[in-house]
Symmetry: D2
Amino acid sequence: MNDVHAMPPRAANLGLERVGVSRVKKPLTVQRPGRVVTLTATFSVSVDLPPDRKGSDLSRNAELLAELVDERLGDPVPSLEALCESIARSLLQKHPSARRSCVTAEADYFLRRGISAERSSFEDYLLIAGAFGERASDGTITSHRSIGAEAVGMTTCPCAMESCRALLEKEYPGLARAEFTEVPVVTHNQRNRTRLFLEPPDDSEVEADTLIGLIEAAQSSPTFAILKRGDEARVVLDAHRRPRFVEDVVRELLASVPAAFPRLPEATKVRAESTSEESIHKYDVVAAHEISLGALRARPSA
Amino acid sequence: MNDVHAMPPRAANLGLERVGVSRVKKPLTVQRPGRVVTLTATFSVSVDLPPDRKGSDLSRNAELLAELVDERLGDPVPSLEALCESIARSLLQKHPSARRSCVTAEADYFLRRGISAERSSFEDYLLIAGAFGERASDGTITSHRSIGAEAVGMTTCPCAMESCRALLEKEYPGLARAEFTEVPVVTHNQRNRTRLFLEPPDDSEVEADTLIGLIEAAQSSPTFAILKRGDEARVVLDAHRRPRFVEDVVRELLASVPAAFPRLPEATKVRAESTSEESIHKYDVVAAHEISLGALRARPSA
Amino acid sequence: MNDVHAMPPRAANLGLERVGVSRVKKPLTVQRPGRVVTLTATFSVSVDLPPDRKGSDLSRNAELLAELVDERLGDPVPSLEALCESIARSLLQKHPSARRSCVTAEADYFLRRGISAERSSFEDYLLIAGAFGERASDGTITSHRSIGAEAVGMTTCPCAMESCRALLEKEYPGLARAEFTEVPVVTHNQRNRTRLFLEPPDDSEVEADTLIGLIEAAQSSPTFAILKRGDEARVVLDAHRRPRFVEDVVRELLASVPAAFPRLPEATKVRAESTSEESIHKYDVVAAHEISLGALRARPSA
Amino acid sequence: MNDVHAMPPRAANLGLERVGVSRVKKPLTVQRPGRVVTLTATFSVSVDLPPDRKGSDLSRNAELLAELVDERLGDPVPSLEALCESIARSLLQKHPSARRSCVTAEADYFLRRGISAERSSFEDYLLIAGAFGERASDGTITSHRSIGAEAVGMTTCPCAMESCRALLEKEYPGLARAEFTEVPVVTHNQRNRTRLFLEPPDDSEVEADTLIGLIEAAQSSPTFAILKRGDEARVVLDAHRRPRFVEDVVRELLASVPAAFPRLPEATKVRAESTSEESIHKYDVVAAHEISLGALRARPSA
């Protein structure tokens, strides 16, 4: 029987940058500080394909995922990105003609959070891990990782707050101006969905929980599943005391990264993306920026 | 060649309530007051299947859609639901062994809206039409329609507003109590997605634009694509002067139906569903209710 | 401070059938035969609302989910539907003015499967659980469950197979007719997504793994993550030896339920839905049917 | 009243590469050869933000979309990408402090297609347009476009076909070997979703209908809404006579571009992405490649 994958392709002399499988769902266990967590992750796994091979033989990718994920369910991995990296390296061993590999994985993730200890519960976040393998001309395999997370929080609009303040002053001329500057003024607020990615050039570790903490600190307020009435007021007031555009969320978030990761290399890529699902419009507003950690550190302070 | 569809099924003596095609996308034109509108609709089209037939012969459904939708693109239909009803009736002619047919269609829909005439633009809504055909034992075909629409607007939470008022009074004891009752107080606000469906038992017409108007009137405020700064303040203040739970949106919406449709029959089914994408939580809150127009009319006023 | 939820609504005299929270994600552990499984489930949780209350006080729902799901993460529940039922009952205790409660939950679910023991890995399925609580006029709370599952498999079209046979006979007159009836003939095949739900009227247990097994047996073939070349041929040939319409999948599936659940009550509702993502069309084809287990059992055999 | 957007940001000295609005839905009309087509497009529109401005003032983006899309609904644009380009240029005029702009738009699109003239109907495709504006240091604004399309068709797996041939030869030793090489052999086939993008560096025009034609020619077969039984057999046999991996689809597609666009500049970027929603697995397989048109042309023929 012919090995169809190894045959030369009809449309010859054209290598492909990426061939693989996507949307592969798997359960896996991760060792987190003091606990083992089970995640349901969705993987995409690919390698490049040289010009002289017709097919990439994708059954190897499914086998590899079974070996490295299914068979190790009882043996927790240190992190989702560590697992991706071991898959990225093994892909290059399973595909001897490939030079580059790429693995991404996303998983719902939960942290116990709350406005107070007795009102805490699991809040849901998203982990977004990646790993990239490369085979040098001498056969050496190198790899590095991307660690990302998404947190949903709240933003309150600083611009509408100013406009409301001006309108209220006009509508209520009898009220002292001071009262509108001290007391939080109404504005539109909404769900904000923000992602932060760090991609160190080497094998530096990045803790995803730290990313989530930075995102929540950059939004107008984190949000919580359990809020009794006084708690709701507290969250609403806090958020109105920190009005933020998506632009602010991205900037505050990027600006907070150097202090949180003092030992990561200068060449670490840092990427932030923020979407506010505007309550006052039917569309979303978005901001995004990518910068090296070195450039972030070198930035003159405000 | 055997007609496989007409053969008896292996698992015999079991009719099926619904067999059809779904996610069929089609362009079509609709005559609206004073203008012709082109919609991109997604159809689902089905009939029942008697116990003695193996297959429904679904190529007839695709042919019928081509005849009734594609061939009439240049000849606007009166409404999306009128088109669905003509498909539902024709389905029963194309499938002589079927007794019931069901057609649903969804389409993005645009109305020119704005906070003022010079700030108007197209706002997007969703039309959700349905039609149901039935063949009586004497062969007579009857049918009726469901007309639905979704509008996205804003809700401001009345409960968090009260809690914030109480907390502000405590935090700012120097401020006069009156000022917090007169001036709108901060609360969480968010995107609200509300649907209203009317299903008259007969051939009564329902104008979808009216449904959209009722939904927007039931929310704390409609939302707009174009808002300059003063406009934003106006929308935010209006919304804070009409704080509404999803429960309120559904009730206000249902309560507004009788006056808007004085001539529809008592047996008309009325259904409202509202979802607030809470800014203060990661989850949504929902309310829904279905009631006959007769029961709505008979309801003692507040 | 006023209890806003307990106030009478402005649009009075209108109770609501359903008010709740939706898209609440939670991790939980389930005891399965011989193993504990962690699921990431998405819950919707609602109760009805009497005419005289403005709001349902949804913070109770979030608290309840934290108590019954988060706090018991270390203490596996017997099944997703058992957890839903305990939530449905507790909802009626937390909401003393409600008479009905409804809980639904969906979760990715994995079973070790394979074409052979050495080629097995985790295949992904979907669990879809529900529970419904009711408070009688004497205060007694009753409840029952719905247990559902979705499995993705393959269908091969029996009609196109016949047409291809006829066309091949015409194109290759030299080939013996017998060869086309014995050897599987080409046809279009595709992903098929089928759901089966059982809703017993009482506290009968239904094993979700059994539902998944029945679905896979009703499709032309189950599908597998790991298939070496000979395995692929085996699955393709098996599927071509069992060509099935979506109509066939639903009928075979329903017909298989009585033997698998001999002890469930007659009044158990059985619902099957099947979607084939046709390779030969851009749209899907669907079939669905609901019937009581009693009627299924009473059905004369073929 | 303060212009909050023009204030300096708190987290200073950090420009942002992209700030804008996304998921803005709009109806628009496009002049196609011999007909005017109405599309419902979803736009994303953004500019960069200099370090010294707090906000991008996104109300300008919504105003611009209203001016360039809503106000011109009666005046068809030459193409979706031409409209994107005019928005990208105007964005730089509306945002004097921005240096780069980016506009993307997606829209369902229909072409009349059929296995024969009397069996034709509208098949649905996706248009994916982009435009990129840049302001040089001397103030000159330049721009260019990306034109993309997606078509859904069918792929039949060449590898499983070989394996099935081998297995059939073993199972039916009495059948002549020739019969299995001449007559199409069973394999798995499935929906294939392929995208092709061309991004010329200048103002060259690219016809989206041509891209769709190239994609359909690269798949094992196009698919059709209306197929009577003989037609189904024809499509199935055609597809089985052109078995193709996703790898093949991408390569054949890229290889077909030079002949179709003989006058486009060498620096035109060409990108192809193909996803097969495998009928034999629960996951998808994907291939993608990007290359300059110059490199494609220089490629030695097979």
